[in-house]
Symmetry: C2
Subunit: 385 residues, 2 copies
């Protein structure tokens, strides 16, 4: 059911030839209310695509009527013509929905530098066709239309106490956190104020999408949006709603990790007993971005030396000679020295767990990443994204 699982939303996905495959490539999600609350977080990459620059203005007043998304072109570094394309896309949707263009979010994904006149014409056509096909069961079609190199569409729902959260996501490469990462649309029929929606979204993305770092490469088009219809009439208890939203976001983050380009291992890096949560995140990310460690895991090699070498590049509080490392439950390093033999570690499962005990504090964080494989190199060495 994706984004149409909650009451008050309609969606659609259509194919207009932005993708050479002929697969669906334009999606629209509309909030029928009664509330028209919107919140969004964006990539922190300073090189922002035109839809990001536009959407940041749209969400400023926290009122959002609809969101238009396209795959098959990022409309990034396409000049003023590209920005006009985004603006015209919002104007087209606004005219057909009889609302203000300043309440229409726009997202694009695909090759950076793509945004010519043919691209514009197809996006405008797709916007018109998708709006004509809007329906309360369109969530699945919308989630398929935003796929790029994704092998499967990614959706998640959560229900409790009469309110529902629905969500869809796309992303398989360039997966590293900005504020958010990849394209995500989350809908809910819970009754939330604009401030609550914004605070819940930032809190949930901080501990979910922000902790996913598949390949260290931050996108120019990342956006996570939350649309609130309030159609259930239920005002959720704040903590309950936040837990539900975190559940949905973490579920999608793990789906994105599982579908990362070319990956053969999903690596969960748990950093425990850190002096601060920031330290734990910095340490986890330094390991997640170490190509030698990532290649070793691809080779089913529990190379803990590369883990410690990566940690050593951080500013985190720790003593390199008082760190423990466990890989898939086997303590391979104790107090910065060798412990059990590498032969004891079974790295054949796709699910890989690395636990780093810094032994200095009480804080912890989990980073989700992937290994560095031949398929990753292959998929990213052709001009495609």
């Amino acid at each position: 059911m994706s984004v149409t699982a909650p009451q008050g939303f309609e969606a659609a996905g259509v194919a207009v030839g932005l993708k050479s495959t002929g697969n669906p490539d334009v999606a629209v999600v509309v909030n029928r209310g009664p509330l028209k609350v919107g919140a969004a977080v964006f990539t922190s990459n300073r090189a922002k695509a035109n839809p990001i620059i536009w959407s940041q203005q749209v969400v400023a007043d926290r009122t959002v009527e609809a969101i238009v998304l396209n795959s098959g072109g990022a409309n990034c570094f396409t000049g003023s013509f590209g920005f006009q394309t985004t603006h015209q896309t919002a104007e087209k949707a606004a005219e057909l929905l009889d609302v203000s263009a300043s309440d229409i979010l726009v997202c694009s994904t695909g090759l950076i530098g793509t945004g010519d006149e043919a691209f514009r014409a197809k996006v405008l056509t797709g916007t018109e066709q998708a709006i004509a096909e809007l329906n309360a069961d369109g969530g699945a079609a919308a989630s398929e239309a935003i796929m790029t190199t994704d092998s499967v569409s990614k959706i998640s729902t959560y229900q409790r106490d009469g309110w529902t959260i629905g969500a869809m996501a796309k992303g398989a490469g360039m997966l590293a956190p900005g504020l958010a990462t990849m394209l995500v649309v989350i809908t809910t029929d819970a009754v939330l104020t604009p401030v609550e929606a914004d605070e819940h979204l930032r809190a949930a993305t901080r501990v979910s999408f922000d902790r996913l770092d598949s390949d260290g490469c931050m996108s120019t088009n990342d956006q996570v949006s939350l649309l609130v219809s309030g159609a259930s009439g239920v005002e959720p208890e704040a903590e309950a709603f936040r837990l539900g939203l975190i559940d949905v976001c973490t579920n999608l983050a793990v789906q994105l990790q599982a579908d990362a380009e070319g990956a053969s291992h999903d690596i969960t890096i748990q950093v425990i007993h850190a002096a601060s949560e920031d330290d734990a995140v910095e340490v986890g990310r330094s390991v997640a971005r170490n190509n030698l460690f990532k290649a070793a895991i691809f080779g089913n090699d529990p190379n803990w030396g590369r883990v410690l070498a990566a940690i050593g590049t951080t500013r985190a509080e720790f003593d390199p000679y008082d760190v423990d490392v466990e890989i898939n439950g086997v303590r391979v390093c104790t107090e910065g020295g060798p412990d059990r033999p590498r032969e004891d570690v079974d790295l054949t499962p796709r699910a890989t767990n690395v636990t780093i005990d810094l032994r200095v504090g009480e804080e912890a964080a989990t980073i989700y990443t992937n290994d560095l494989t031949h398929d990753y190199v292959h998929e990213n060495s052709a001009y495609s994204s």
Copy 2:
């Protein structure tokens, strides 16, 4: 001639079985004086190998008699036993050379976590054998004994006005700057004070080895040492000596880049018109560490969008929509937008030049890196380094 090109130095390289191949694996370089000046820079990785911890103490008084180097084991994260091994290595060399152990530098390279009793016995035996074979033509043998995954030994010499600089280096992976990177021994018969030696070495490494970033992974064992014999009796003009030292260090850095594990392109990233040299280095390094960009170059794909996406993650002063990018002489991006078609770029040569014009200032820097290839993944996915 390597490190024995200058007057006043003897060297040797021997095989004691630290390498499974049976190739030479222990080297000794001795300074016969008259001066016994030494300087060294070390990895800034906080996870430092035992030889680094030892050598930092040795060089503190800027007096160095000799340096013992081994391949086939990094002696890193091997506990107090490993540190004792380094100490005993220095004691053994000091005893045979009739000098103080506190003037013996030690370097190790190989697998992190390797440093057991068999390793210690072989290193001590190798130290004894190498000292027995010391000779004024031993530079070549020494340079071969420090090779790990290097396919060729790396040496460089520079002569001017009666003084000579000789040098050897090893390194093929884990190539990212700390203060230094990889193992390098530089010798000279020029007359230098300890302060001059230290200042020249730091100045030269800052613009050479520190600008080499092959795979973003910083080693735990990196050390660049300069031994000064003064045997030529010539006091060089300071600027002339520094230029000579920079020439030798840059020459070696480029040799290391050319031999980087699995690489198919040597990528020179020139960042120009930056507001500061630090900005230029940060921008160059962000591109050098972007796996999507590196994989694209492997695929002969001038994917300038990935260049701008990488720049956008830096704190450097620039406007993403006022940046120019040239790849192998073809302007593919002007003012943050598409310029000439990608088909115009020929990426078939191994030598690849990327020029990034930030258009905000007068500073510049050059970063040397490599592409991300199947061979890189292959060589680093087996338990070997």
